[in-house]
């Protein structure tokens, strides 16, 4: 296993730049998830690591060795594709054996041993004689992972591997991937647009937008302390409310719907800030509350309810117990959990450092 270092990696097609100055180090045995909306450059970044796309500028190191200009086969990596990319005319066994037999110095017996071992781990021993079209989506994905495993590469790359599976299977395979990573100690770089995959799988998450890295952090840190409004909006469902407020230098935050000013401590606050609150960080007040809102609608989602509340011109979501959910149309008082509240610069969208007590 190995570390992967990206230094100022850029990719441009003609004049348009799709990946800009990506700096990232993936540690040994780390599960790094690249996440972002479609077109954010995450797949391009992964394909540059794989060697399938040329790196326009910057440097790529695997285990400290510069592989920027090396062809894919000399980087010692394996990749699992969204479409599985299994050879349709070969059985599962031959799909796994093909690359090894053609390129490695392993004997047939050694190759066979590796395939049997990977098949055992992935629970596909019974499927080895079948061709891809005789396999279900989940089984194909296992074979594709098996093909990567038998190579015993330094780094595993996954390009949206679960996107073609149905929801139930996706949950299951997510668990399997987590188990594989833990049991085999693999170094993985994993691309997805799905925030749940990012949050559950990653030891760290690298959030991308418009070709740039927005934040690289552990999943919970990304959730609790998003670096900017983009990350705040992308991670979390329903998304974080960003309420436009006025602020003075000392950290007094005002909004028409607030009964009194909210006091937060920070240095050099701009005049216009966004007050970020997640649905679970708001509660309905038994008294008048910190802010005054009106319930627009309320959705039951099992044990909890999601209540949409209008706060002046803005809408925000409140997560609460079903029994606590107020009727649509009613006026409610809201309390914010200020220990987790955050502020963003209204102009740049960047998070503002708060002084926590």
């Amino acid at each position: 296993m190995a570390t992967v270092t990206l230094r100022d990696i850029c990719k441009s097609y003609g004049k348009s730049e799709t990946v800009t100055n990506v700096n990232l180090t993936v540690e040994d045995r780390e599960f790094m998830v690249l996440v972002g909306p479609s077109g954010c450059g995450k797949s391009t970044t992964l394909r540059m690591i794989a060697g399938l796309e040329e790196i326009t500028s910057g440097q790529l190191l695997i285990d400290g060795v510069d592989v920027t200009d090396l062809p894919p086969q000399r980087r010692d990596i394996a990749m699992v594709f969204q479409s599985y990319a299994l050879y349709p005319h070969m059985t599962a066994y031959h799909n796994m054996a093909f690359g090894l037999l053609k390129t490695s110095k392993l004997t047939k017996t050694q190759v066979d041993a590796r395939i049997r071992e990977a098949a055992e781990i992935l629970n596909i021993t019974d499927l080895l004689g079948r061709r891809p079209k005789e396999l279900s989506g989940g089984e194909r994905q296992r074979v594709a992972i098996g093909r990567a495993l038998v190579r015993q590469p330094k780094v595993f790359l996954f390009d949206e591997p679960l996107s073609n599976l149905d929801a139930k299977l996706r949950n299951h395979m997510r668990g399997e991937l987590k188990r594989l990573h833990r049991d085999l100690g693999l170094s993985i770089i994993y691309v997805t647009h799905d925030q749940i995959e990012a949050m559950t799988l990653g030891t760290r998450v690298a959030m991308m937008s418009k070709g740039r890295l927005q934040q690289v952090d552990r999943p919970m840190d990304i959730y609790l302390n998003p670096a900017n409004t983009f990350v705040a909006g992308f991670i979390g469902s329903p998304e974080m409310a960003l309420i436009a407020c006025r602020s003075d230098q000392r950290g007094t935050i005002r909004h028409n719907a607030f009964r009194s000013a909210v006091e937060l401590k920070a240095d050099n606050l701009p005049n216009d800030v966004l007050f970020g609150v997640r649905p679970e960080e708001v509660s309905f007040s038994r008294t008048a509350g910190m802010a005054q809102g009106k319930v627009e609608q309320s959705e039951l989602i099992g044990a909890e309810a999601l209540v949409q509340v209008r706060l002046g011109d803005e809408l925000m979501m409140v997560r609460c117990q079903v029994s606590d959910a107020p009727q649509p149309g009613s006026d409610v008082g809201l309390d914010f959990d200020l220990s987790r509240a955050r502020l963003f610069h209204a102009g740049t969208g960047q998070a503002i450092n708060l002084v926590r007590e």
């Binding site: 399938l52 086969q73 000399r74 093909f98 053609k102 390129t103």
Partner: protein, 300 residues
């Protein structure tokens, strides 16, 4: 209820036959009837333009078996087919693989290699007669320039058929290339990417991924190629008239000679029917060998 259903179905079937009838009529007039007619002729002594015909039974077929020229013509046709098809398909495959990439001006290259297909065969034949010309021909000039002796391409009985093979391969390969290029476009690019990551070389990718995945199209091209080359007539007619010494005489040309030059329609029909049998046999052989190895892409 079920009776009404059956009646509706019968009505639907009748309607279908009504729609099919015109094309059946066309096929019957121009395909089935001539086949029956030519079989009928092959059992008679028929002279072109003479309404009187005489029953001969299997005599024409006995004559075919004894006809040394027929066997030579058959051998020529087989040689022509078994050389033209592999050469042109191999050339087409290599061209298609080379042209299946995104490069500036690729459309121009593709058109350039397809161009021979658009030239009428008679015109193409005339051009190659000029190219092969013994004294002033560009091919001999080129041979001379690199110190090789001049060749009597179309006038040497050992060489003339090969000269037509070269010309035909040039003409066919552009056509096959276009079909194979379309097939290559359907091979998902991530298969090649997966293979590249696996370290599989370009030649191995061609042999183990490309060729198996386009095998249905290759098979189609082989069958079409056999049908075309067994019926080769125009190049022979324009370039050599079957000569020298019948070295380029092929089955369709031999049929033409017997039917229209010697006006022996009965014998021409017999040769034509024999050609049909050989062609079906060859296609059957191809289906049993190559056809078994074709891999069809796609879902269950």
């Amino acid at each position: 209820m079920s009776q009404r259903f059956a009646r509706a179905r019968r009505k639907e079937a009748l309607l279908a036959y009504a729609f099919l009838f015109p094309s059946f009529l066309f096929l019957a007039t121009f395909t089935y009837w001539p086949i029956i007619r030519s079989f009928w002729f092959s059992l008679h002594d028929v002279v072109l333009g003479d309404p009187e015909i005489f029953w001969m039974g299997a005599e024409n077929y006995m004559r075919v078996l004894d006809d040394a020229l027929f066997w030579k013509v058959l051998a020529n046709t087989a040689f022509y087919t078994l050389t033209t098809i592999p050469i042109s398909i191999l050339a087409a495959l290599l061209l298609a693989v080379a042209l299946d990439r995104k490069l500036r001006g690729m459309a121009i290259y593709r058109s350039a290699f397809f161009y021979p297909v658009m030239i009428p065969s008679v015109a193409a034949g005339m051009v190659w007669v000029f190219l092969y010309a013994p004294g002033y021909g560009p091919i001999n000039a080129a041979l001379g320039a690199i110190g090789l002796p001049h060749l009597d391409w179309l006038y040497d009985s050992d060489l003339a058929l090969s000269a037509i093979v070269i010309m035909s391969a040039w003409k066919y390969s552009g056509y096959f290339m276009l079909i194979l290029l379309a097939a290559l476009k359907l091979v998902p690019s991530d298969l090649y990417e997966a293979a590249r990551l696996d370290g599989v070389s370009g030649v191995q990718r061609l042999l183990h991924i490309t060729i198996p995945l386009i095998s249905p199209t290759l098979y189609f091209v082989v069958v079409i190629g056999i049908l075309h080359s067994y019926q080769v007539f125009d190049y022979v007619y324009v370039m050599t008239q079957g000569g020298p010494a019948d070295s380029t005489n092929v089955l369709t040309y031999y049929i033409y000679q017997n039917g229209f030059q010697y006006q022996d329609i009965g014998y021409a029909s017999t040769v034509a029917n024999t050609l049909l049998v050989f062609m079906l046999g060859l296609i059957g052989l191809v289906a049993l060998t190559l056809g078994r190895r074709v891999h069809y892409l796609g879902e269950k």
